[in-house]
Amino acid sequence: MTDQLSNSERIQAGLARRYRAEKRFRLYGIIAVVLAVGFLAVMLSAIGARGFGAFYQTHASLEVTFDEELVKDKDWQGIVKVAMRKSFPDVKARRDKRKLYKLMSSGAGFDLQGMYKADPELLGQTRTVWLPTSDDIDMLMKGQIDRVLAEDDRRVSDKEITWVDQWIASDRIELQFNTRFFTGGDSREPELAGILGAVMGSLLSLTVCLALSFPLGVMTAVYLEEFAPKNKWTDIIEVNINNLAAVPSIVFGLLGLAMFLNFFGMPRSAPLVGGMVLALMTLPTIIIAGRAALRAVPPSIREAALGMGASPIQTVTHHVLPLAMPGMLTGTIIGMAQALGESAPLLMIGMVAFIVDVPAAFTDPATALPVQIYLWADSPERAFSERTSGAIIVLLGFLITMNIIAVFMRKSFERRW
């Protein structure tokens, strides 16, 4: 009796400690989840807060005269300069004038050129036009440059600030939607840089990638799941595919450099080669998803088709494949999303060059959206950090859309047998 009592007493004594340990353990779990989710929240909000500004660009309104002489010389920037002098008639000294011109973007003239091309009637006329300012003024207007700092410590001088303040006082400067960001190619000037070139590069690469990896992936999955005998050879293929899925992406880039560029002599920096490398990389993902989708089709379907006299190939193409297609497409979209975010292998095959033109063909030199982010992240200008975040927002937007489509397809085509 006494023995038993002391036993339960012993348990009682330890109980509080054990419950505390239980609570602590649970708390560790909560902390882990909060840490992971918190990091995601911090990262996304930091990038969101920085990148939002990239969608707006400071423009100033100028009274522009399409002077016949200057238009004939194609001195579009000269027209901007004349207009600037007219806006600030007090500025007389040469050095000040040069500074004054720098308020405007060096690409402001292109806008005028575009206007003139669209409407040659403008010759000799005067119009009020909103033109982009330089990136420093843009940063000043967005509050990224601290006016309180000593003059030598900031990128904008006191004089420039007074000019900008005059503009602000007369409502001739404002933030406008930055269309150039979505319609322009890369540029050394942050206010002129756009992502269209990179988006097109990604699009071309993904087209090649999809055209190669989808048929190859589906055919491989069909062979392995429906026809392949269980032998050593198919075992090797299977192990090989699983390992290929875990090979670091940069190794695929090395393969592309040594094989496609140096051995086969394909063009450098081309979306064609980029797409091929990405296709090899996403192939395992598509095969693995495709096999899972084929396995989910019940054997009774195959047996019924074979029983009705269909040949093995007919059974697969008429019955099994259509039923497995939604699953395969879901896997393909996820694979494409992976390929869209990948940059390391593209660095290896030279898709990191500074390219102003928007690529139009598979062999044009191009970059890709993630590589553009990498390139801009390296640029020292404060305004480029904003553009980088803006490009990241666009990239994440694409990825989220693709994943939502994949989830939606999985949900709507999901079937229980």
Binding site: L216, P248, A377
Partner: protein, 312 residues
């Protein structure tokens, strides 16, 4: 025009289609062969110029191409030990972050969390896995590294602006979902009867997890950790953007180190002739990277598969 009952057209067509299917399934094999062949071929040329032993055990890394034939130090030195050490340091930091966080998150989600909460948190963790690595790299270089440097200054440490710690921390967050989802799988594979037995003997939930579930799931968890390590070693963009370029042989996480992948990228971006030891060195490094990650993957997949059979 030659269709006759005797002619078995269907059989011929099907044989051709099957042939196409078989051919496409060899593409995966050809890719592996291509990787091995291109890496081996270029690496062999490299080892023809620089002895293998110097590469594997040399402690000085300063690759450079000679502009003139008679230049001082024209050959450069290709001792890869500082790169291996740097890679290991950053990967170790990443695992030190990801292993506990990923494992505890998996345990919490599998054993404690309400199903509703789990349905919300699991997709959020998967978002972490879907974010491109270049975004992590940007965040590491632009937010985490300056923040660490600032905190270090306040605390009196000298933190490099390209510290191994910043790259490692962010890389750790990147591999959390990998560890948590693999651990989640193996924890869920532990049969309910083992939990019930433990509860029946009077163990609390945490005691059951620590003394029954984790030991039972340990091989699978270890497999997941090895896969995560292989991911960390092969990760490129985060380290390219947030880690250093100079090859320092140090174990101090506050200093800048460089990694194998960073060096591959620096050696191969930019124009240079394809025959110099400098470019070939990148392939030797690539071969090392491929072999290391392959061994880790094979071992990890073997452990995971072997363990899975136990309860089936």
């Amino acid at each position: 025009m030659y269709v006759t009952p005797a002619r078995r057209a269907k059989k011929a067509v099907e044989a051709v289609i099957k042939g196409i299917l078989i051919t496409s399934s060899t593409v995966a094999i050809l890719t592996t062969v291509g990787i091995v062949a291109s890496l081996l071929f270029e690496a062999m040329r490299f080892f023809g110029e620089i002895p293998f032993v110097d590469f594997m055990f040399g402690t000085e890394w300063s690759p450079q191409t000679a502009i003139r034939e008679d230049q001082v130090g024209a050959s450069g030195s290709f001792g890869a030990v500082p790169l291996f050490a740097g890679t290991l340091l950053i990967s170790a930091i990443a695992l030190a972050v990801a292993a506990p966080v990923g494992l505890f998150a998996a345990i919490f989600l599998a054993e404690y969390a309400h199903p509703k909460l789990r349905n919300w948190v699991k997709p959020i963790l998967e978002i972490l896995a879907g974010i491109p690595t270049v975004v992590y790299g940007f965040f590491a270089a632009l937010v985490v590294a300056p923040w660490l440097r600032g905190t270090g200054e306040v605390a009196g440490f000298d933190v490099s602006s390209e510290s191994a710690l910043a790259a490692g921390l962010v890389m750790g967050v990147m591999i959390i979902p990998l560890i948590s989802s693999l651990s989640d799988d193996v924890i869920n594979a532990v049969p309910q009867s083992m939990r019930d037995g433990s509860f029946g003997l009077g163990a609390t939930k945490s005691e059951t997890i620590r003394q029954v579930i984790i030991p039972a799931a340990l091989p699978g968890i270890m497999g997941g950790m090895l896969l995560a390590a292989s991911r960390a070693i092969g990760e490129t963009m985060i380290v390219v953007m947030a880690a250093g370029l100079a090859a320092n042989l140090t174990a101090n996480p506050l200093q800048a180190v460089t990694t194998v992948t960073v060096q591959i990228v620096t050696l191969l971006t930019g124009d240079q002739e394809f025959d110099s030891a400098k470019t070939l060195a990148a392939f030797a490094l690539g071969l090392m990277l491929f072999v290391t990650t392959l061994v880790l993957n094979v071992v990890a997949l073997h452990i995971v598969n072997k363990y899975r059979e136990q309860y089936d």
